[in-house]
Symmetry: D2
Subunit: 133 residues, 4 copies
Amino acid sequence: MIEHTSTVNVRYAETDQMMFAHHSNYIVWFEYARIELMRAVGINYCEMEKNGTLLPVLEVKASFMRPARFDDELKIKTQLPAMPRSKLKFEYQIFNNQDELLCQGYSLHAFMNSRNRAVKPPAAFTDTLKRYI
Amino acid sequence: MIEHTSTVNVRYAETDQMMFAHHSNYIVWFEYARIELMRAVGINYCEMEKNGTLLPVLEVKASFMRPARFDDELKIKTQLPAMPRSKLKFEYQIFNNQDELLCQGYSLHAFMNSRNRAVKPPAAFTDTLKRYI
Amino acid sequence: MIEHTSTVNVRYAETDQMMFAHHSNYIVWFEYARIELMRAVGINYCEMEKNGTLLPVLEVKASFMRPARFDDELKIKTQLPAMPRSKLKFEYQIFNNQDELLCQGYSLHAFMNSRNRAVKPPAAFTDTLKRYI
Amino acid sequence: MIEHTSTVNVRYAETDQMMFAHHSNYIVWFEYARIELMRAVGINYCEMEKNGTLLPVLEVKASFMRPARFDDELKIKTQLPAMPRSKLKFEYQIFNNQDELLCQGYSLHAFMNSRNRAVKPPAAFTDTLKRYI
């Protein structure tokens, strides 16, 4: 299992008239957090795309326990629980400054080449992960 | 069961460098679609909030089968499958112009008053739904 | 001069905790409106990009007179005041249902090919516009 | 004059199919940057809103010289050039990692109370600024 914690601040533009961070932003923060987890183990997703492998989202789920508010500093604990085969799963937990769990969820990804075909995970990708899992 | 179909066009700002509509936008389209379903049966969500009942999201899930692209006209089929008790569930299917299923998902909501306390569904809300379910 | 009016509804996700539509959304609505103006005169911007001409934004300005709120139906009056030479300018006025002016602004665009080089406006583009200006 | 530099990373969700960061995001980054400038001199905008003074945007302008791309680390140099009277102006310059200027612009703000009335700048606000300007 690989685990990584990243941080985001709730932007004003991310709030809604319920005075909470709008729930769609958590999906964007999940994305940010999985890219940071990959970076932390040496996988630059930006380069990975340039080299022709993309990670489109097949499925995303989020459960909301408590609201986040403007200017809250959030911790996103991201886990990559298992070596990917044809699919890649990330799990997320988002906490506020008082360590209260605000949201948990996951995203499931395919490996896709630049012509939108499903491919196997690149060797460089799995080799890097093997050092950690 | 209540069913309603609404339409959205994929905006340029909603695309990403994968040349697809970014997956977080589906969550926003779900929201638009459930508000339109409510409007179609005579429930103005904007008024409902002014009258003190909010519908925060407890859970949202989306599965992505095919990408949507810039300028695609999407049909969102939204269902309210059952009378809400303490929670309210909406189900969504999003189709493109060729009637291909792009995405399906659901959202689960609480009824909340303006002091962020869980409340029962307002009588006006359930009375309106009863005529359809 | 070419003039076109399009319509958007303020989405819940577009509100912020000031209870207004967040000002960044007007920039997205401007974009929607200019694409609809082009469509109205027979220019499909989606096809135009596929054929290799893009219209990146060089400059955008918006002045805000009154707020838009959730669920407001907005009318966007868009004008293309003059035949483009190397640059293309659109002007916008956004009104609410009571015909109050909420926002006015403009966007200025370059013509760019797919290798990010400035190009002249395509002949098909200017020929179409000539019929209206 | 007060000057402050903050940093943002271009998120994947902020890209569009032009392979650039969509221009509407700069408006959101401006907002982030002015809140960070205020924080740097001891003004917590979140508290300021709770205390009843809001800073709605009257005008925003951005000029785009070069594109930002996914994962770019951007520096936002923000200036508050003069003591606010009835209006408050911030100026922005956004640079990439190679110190190339990508965007410059400004935003103009009113001081508003929670009943949406224009008010004078709060004394605590101007007193804090006076120490710097």
